[in-house]
Symmetry: C2
Subunit: 333 residues, 2 copies
């Protein structure tokens, strides 16, 4: 678990896209995002107060989060200088970078000398159990997609926000690096050893109050041959009560796989439900989340209406239309 | 790749069952098994020549394989003494034990001093790629089971042996510790990082002659919630042309999961085929392998005949009836 609140380190981000982790934290956990720290040349701006390390300290920040993807796979000297100063000022560091903080001897030394923690969220730190398949109390909702990167994390976060606003009991359960940095905890599922994948999802979504919902971040797709095993572990380890289908309607082929067409929503519905019912016979598919970012307002509305008529399930783009109807759909479960 | 041939170290095995790795090597790769080395009190016997290290050296042995499961998770002092002598005599060591050879400083030192290799086959040594899903040349057959430990490795090895006898081109592709020790190479799939599972199976079964068959060792089951993700990666990474269904008819529940009933063979057939056709639309289910060890001869015959009538697929216990009909079933693919 990463201590909050955060100072978001944006480095010398060449544009806003490079700072999408920071953007995610600011959008979904604004209460964690007290300020930003930008280096010369930074083109990203989270519209947060620019803070020095001293100002962040005074504001109560606990952890400096690297909210930007770096270039070339190395931590640049200009970054390292600031990160060492942050450790010396008493902050922990958290990062989802491929190149690990723990592989930088100067950062390791500074963390040790100052009693601080380096969080590399790409690397599991827990010894997860093998899944036992036992029924757990509480409710779980899992987003499953026709493809990778179709909005599964966004869907779960939007439902989480809507449920919080309604005062319902819920937890967003992060299974990827960005999700973990946003919420401060979770399982980096794609980095877990095969035998422990489903067990790590059980660990992430333990017994809870009967009216509590875990909103589990999905990964991959049952139809994406590179990552389908990870999706399968989520379905069996998560033992969801409810599934939300996620789709991006303009994609020409599966992400990274030019030879593979996207499956239909109906195919994902039928396959995911059959598999989920192995672990939880009561599981239902309750709604559809469409990522309509490449459609006009009218086309987005028409597309969702068409899917809703075809599948008989509430269908929205939670970014454009809000997640209210998806949350409503959980009420009957 | 482990250098062959082998001397099989049986230690102080309390019974034959404890030496099942040695038994597997002797049964399936007798040409690798030149001799056995037993300590005082050993109750296992592979009916191989008992050899000293010197005799093994003279016979051409390259590697001493620990063919026995040890007790209590430690490598006993009596074992260690022999293993160090083996390294000093110029042999490599290979082991599938949970406690790793590489975690024993004395073995590491002896290996280094003598220029020998310690093979811990539970630990991947290759940096596997992410699966790309591209169609590969050659043919692949995968055993899929109703449950774990129903005879998938045995089925693939029996088909491999039958095909070799017929002079057909084939390779048994090991995906588990025992299979790797039997054949000297493979992927320890349950220890691979989630993101690289399917890629490791692609790596294991590369382009080959058009009339060459990879016989891929299956793992887990699509219906076993602890390990289904591993099975999924085999189906998508292996892109099989042919599936063999494996079943053990007397099992009361899924292995290790008292609350879970076994699926029907029909359910496994339909689900595995649908998933396999994502990666290879031409995939077919060609036969059924039944582990009849707990049935009488008559009951075994009747059970197989019943399944064959129900599913319309050649159905045998390859141990009792031979694998000929399963190999015949590949001819049409």
């Amino acid at each position: 678990m990463i201590n909050t609140p955060y100072l978001l380190f944006l480095g010398d981000a060449p544009d806003g896209l490079a700072a999408k982790v920071a953007q995610g934290i600011k959008d979904w956990r604004p209460e964690y995002a007290l300020g930003q720290l930008r280096l010369e040349g930074c083109k990203a701006d989270m519209k947060l107060p620019d803070m020095t390390l001293e100002e962040a300290r005074a504001a109560g920040v606990q952890t400096v989060v690297i909210g930007v993807a770096n270039r070339g796979g190395i931590i640049a000297p200009a970054w390292k200088k600031v990160l060492i100063s942050a450790l010396e000022a008493g902050f922990d560091l958290a990062s989802g970078l491929h190149n690990l903080l723990r592989d930088e001897p100067e950062l390791v030394a500074a963390a040790k000398a100052n009693g601080r923690t380096l969080h590399d969220v790409r690397v599991p730190v827990v010894q997860y159990p093998i899944a036992n398949g036992e029924k757990r109390t509480g409710k779980r909702c899992l987003a499953v997609g026709t493809d990778c990167s179709v909005g599964k994390m966004y869907t779960a976060l939007a439902m989480d926000a809507e449920m919080r606003e309604r005062g319902l009991k819920c937890s967003f359960r992060a299974t990827g690096q960005t999700g973990i940095l946003i919420t401060g905890e979770g399982v980096p599922l794609d980095a877990v050893i095969a035998d422990f994948m489903a067990g790590s999802v059980e660990w992430l979504t333990p017994d809870n109050d009967a009216d509590h919902w875990d909103l589990i971040e999905g990964q991959g797709s049952l139809f994406h041959v590179s990552y389908s095993g990870v999706t399968m572990a989520l379905i069996h380890g998560g033992q969801p009560d409810a599934l939300i289908l996620c789709h991006e309607p303009t994609r020409a082929h599966m992400r990274g796989l030019p030879g593979y067409k996207l499956p239909s929503l109906e195919a994902v519905r039928d396959l995911a439900l059959q598999l989920a019912q192995v672990a939880n016979p009561a599981c239902q598919v309750v709604g559809v989340s469409v990522n309509t970012q490449h459609l006009s307002d009218d086309d987005a509305k028409a597309y969702c209406a068409d899917v809703e008529a075809r599948l008989g399930l509430p269908t929205v783009d939670p970014y454009r239309h809000g997640a209210a109807r998806l949350v409503d759909a959980l009420a009957g479960i």
